[in-house]
């Protein structure tokens, strides 16, 4: 078992991914985290819940990942002093996650950085919106919003503040550049602008309904989140969806990956000065979306994955059409790849730009596509292999350069691999049901969902409450791990390259603002 050496009392969670749950005291956390790290593990998620309605204090939750599986650790914190040791020296992503948990619940890692993260002006430090006794409809008195950015001083250093409203059609966030001449000395990110209270919103929703909200945590990853949510719920129910539903889920997940990669490749060409690329790739993406609309009833396949299975049946003809589309796409993308590869202007912009070294990526715990482009070999489709990836044999792609060029190559490689996987699904899929009804679910059960979306892994941790409702649900986006990497990647690059570098990561704001 992946976490045996920790000598904890662990129970295995039923379901699609290898996952275990255990409890520990807060004081033991640094040693445990350290041990997991030494064994090649990492922090996948960190969040808190309020248990005071059950006569307890708070619980700090950690999700620790190894290639073989996930450990969900719970540590009780007393209500009057909900403190726990700062884990950010061990796991870099803990920095912001701890600050977010403090903003919502008041649980405190007592880290050196006392600044809020999600809390801007909508509530004050004494308001704790995620507590059970905070009314979901309550609106708090506005606080002040004077975020203390780190200032860089020196001869000729000046600042460029950007956002939250950006110049293009993208999500809002604030970037503070400290530059000298045109070189970036430091980029500080301030996010949280799209915080919509998703964790609070989940509470009390019907378990069957929660999937719709999960599918709107980050719209471009709706399939990944819906699947992760259903995986968690099906783990609680100890029910497995029919085989055909699992194949269709994988098919949708790979189509989501293909569509997003196509769009990104178009925008990366455009940002590199080749508008031709945008027109070509967006045309291909539109074709994929139209096929989705025709076969699944939604261009982005929102609400197509439901607890117990899937909601749409493309049928034999539909699958054949997808197969034919794969062949056409493969030809077209190869052609465009040759054009990108041979375009000196584009390659000049891509190569060595926005480099994230493997060493830095490893220290930061970078995952997903951006991680793999910097030699971080994490892809749970090829590692923990939740069904049907146990049969599909996904081949992980990695690159060692970590520059924009590497992230472009990753996207090309992953499109080809996804096309292969889609064809493989069509080969393997058998006839049968596409959904089973889930049994009634008692309260107090916990389940975990873990899915490798196009950007990286989506994690959903779910606890059932009374009357088939959600007691708590937390969704974690891979962008938490990867946003800090962007700041390292732009260091020493010129400001005008920032849009290109940013696009090459294409991280989610909504997904981690929640």
């Amino acid at each position: 078992m992946a976490f045996d050496s920790l000598r904890l009392h662990l129970s295995e969670l039923p379901g699609a991914v290898p996952a275990w749950q255990g409890q520990t005291t807060a004081a033991e956390l640094p040693d445990i985290c350290h041990a997991v790290k030494v064994q090649g593990g990492r922090l996948a998620a960190l969040w808190g819940t309020d248990e005071q309605d059950h006569g307890q204090g708070y619980v700090l939750h950690l999700a620790l990942a190894k290639p073989e599986g996930m450990l969900w650790l719970r540590s009780a914190l007393p209500a009057d002093q909900p403190h726990y040791p700062d884990l950010s020296p061990i796991f870099y992503p803990a920095h912001r996650l701890q600050r977010a948990a403090r903003d919502l619940l008041g649980i405190d890692a007592q880290a050196a950085d006392r600044r809020p993260w999600l809390r801007h002006a909508a509530w004050q430090a004494t308001d704790l919106p995620l507590r059970h006794d905070a009314d979901a409809a309550a609106v708090f008195e506005q606080g002040g919003d004077d975020y203390a950015f780190t200032t860089v001083v020196g001869d000729g250093v000046h600042e460029i503040p950007v956002g939250p409203v950006h110049a293009g059609t993208i999500e809002p966030g604030h970037f503070r550049f400290s530059i000298v001449g045109e070189k970036v000395l430091r980029l500080e990110e301030h996010l949280g602008y799209t915080h919509k209270g998703v964790d609070k919103r989940f509470q009390g929703m019907a378990l069957a309904e929660g999937v719709r909200l999960a599918g709107r945590v980050s719209g471009d990853s709706t399939v990944a989140y819906a699947w992760a949510y259903c995986m968690a719920l099906e783990s609680i129910a100890a029910a497995a969806p029919p085989a055909r539903a699992l194949w269709l889920r994988a098919l949708m997940l790979e189509r989501e990956r293909i569509a997003n990669h196509l769009g990104d490749l178009g925008y990366l060409g455009n940002d590199g000065g080749l508008a031709f690329g945008l027109a070509q790739f967006m045309r291909l993406k539109e074709d994929v979306l139209r096929m989705n609309a025709g076969l699944f009833g939604h261009r982005y396949m929102m609400d197509c994955i439901v607890p117990g299975g899937v909601a749409c049946e493309p049928g034999r003809e539909g699958l054949e059409a997808i197969g034919a589309e794969c062949d056409a796409l493969e030809r077209e993308v190869h052609l465009l790849k040759d054009i990108y590869d041979d375009h000196p202007g584009l390659q000049d912009r891509f190569l060595t730009c926005g480099r994230l070294t493997a060493n830095t990526a490893s220290k930061l715990g970078v995952i997903g596509l951006a991680g793999r482009a910097s030699a971080q070999a994490w892809d749970l489709r090829a590692q923990a292999r939740p069904a049907p990836y146990d049969v599909l044999d996904a081949r992980m792609k990695t690159h060692k350069n970590g520059d924009v060029a590497a992230r472009v190559i990753m996207r090309f490689d992953e499109i080809f691999e996804s096309l292969r996987l889609v064809r493989s699904v069509i080969e393997h899929i058998g006839a049968g049901e596409i959904a089973v009804p889930l049994p009634d679910i008692p309260s107090g059960r916990m389940g975990l969902g873990w899915v490798e979306g196009w950007r990286g892994e989506s994690v959903v941790a779910l606890e059932s409450g009374e009357d088939g409702r959600i007691r708590s649900c937390h969704a974690h986006d891979p962008s938490w791990q990867n946003w800090p990497a962007l700041a390292f990647a732009v260091f020493n690059n010129i400001v005008p390259d920032f849009p290109l570098i940013n696009k090459s990561f294409n991280l989610s704001y909504s997904g981690c603002d929640l």
Partner: protein
């Protein structure tokens, strides 16, 4: 370069008047162009603000610029500053953390200004509703001329919404 030119010629012009059905949408396009010509001298400048969306609506706004819908050919362009904009396209429920930024963007636009709220979230607050973190629908924060439902609305629905906003303005 030869490959690139060959690809352009091979793919040809993809822009279509009607994405699915024919005449209805062609009409729409002609009308849209006329409205734009009449009201905005052939050029409508749109500023988009994400006030807290899940990013789903943005994906469809992006698609408006693809060769099929080719929104720029209609004389509509997305601009980087609200000071250059005739119309504000707002997605998402308005996150309370974005309330001030949205109001400031709106204030920075020159009059007369049009506002189109996008998506179920923009229309009603959608699945996120109103809470400690969300002000709900866009109209709770700034004056909205037209609201386009859908989760997310298709590019065609977005075009219709923009058209409606312009024609409403022409009437009033």
């Amino acid at each position: 370069m030869y490959q690139l030119l060959k690809q352009i010629v091979r793919v040809g012009i993809k822009t279509e008047a009607p994405p699915q059905s024919d005449e209805g949408l062609r009409l729409l396009n002609q009308r849209l162009q006329q409205e734009i010509l009449g009201m905005f001298a052939g050029s409508l400048a749109i500023r988009h603000v994400d006030a807290g969306s899940c990013n789903g609506c943005e994906l469809e706004i992006h698609m408006l610029s693809n060769p099929y819908y080719n929104i720029e050919a209609l004389g509509i362009k997305f601009v980087a500053s609200p000071r250059h904009a005739d119309l504000l396209l707002v997605t998402g429920p308005v996150a309370r953390n974005m309330e001030v930024a949205l109001k400031r963007t709106y204030d920075a636009m020159p009059a007369p200004k049009l506002v189109v709220a996008v998506g179920d979230c923009g229309c009603t607050g959608g699945i996120f509703g109103e809470s400690y973190a969300s002000c709900g629908r866009v109209a709770n924060v700034i004056a909205v001329d037209v609201a386009v439902p859908g989760c997310p609305p298709t590019p065609v629905a977005l075009l219709q919404g923009i058209l409606t906003a312009i024609s409403a303005d022409a009437k009033g």
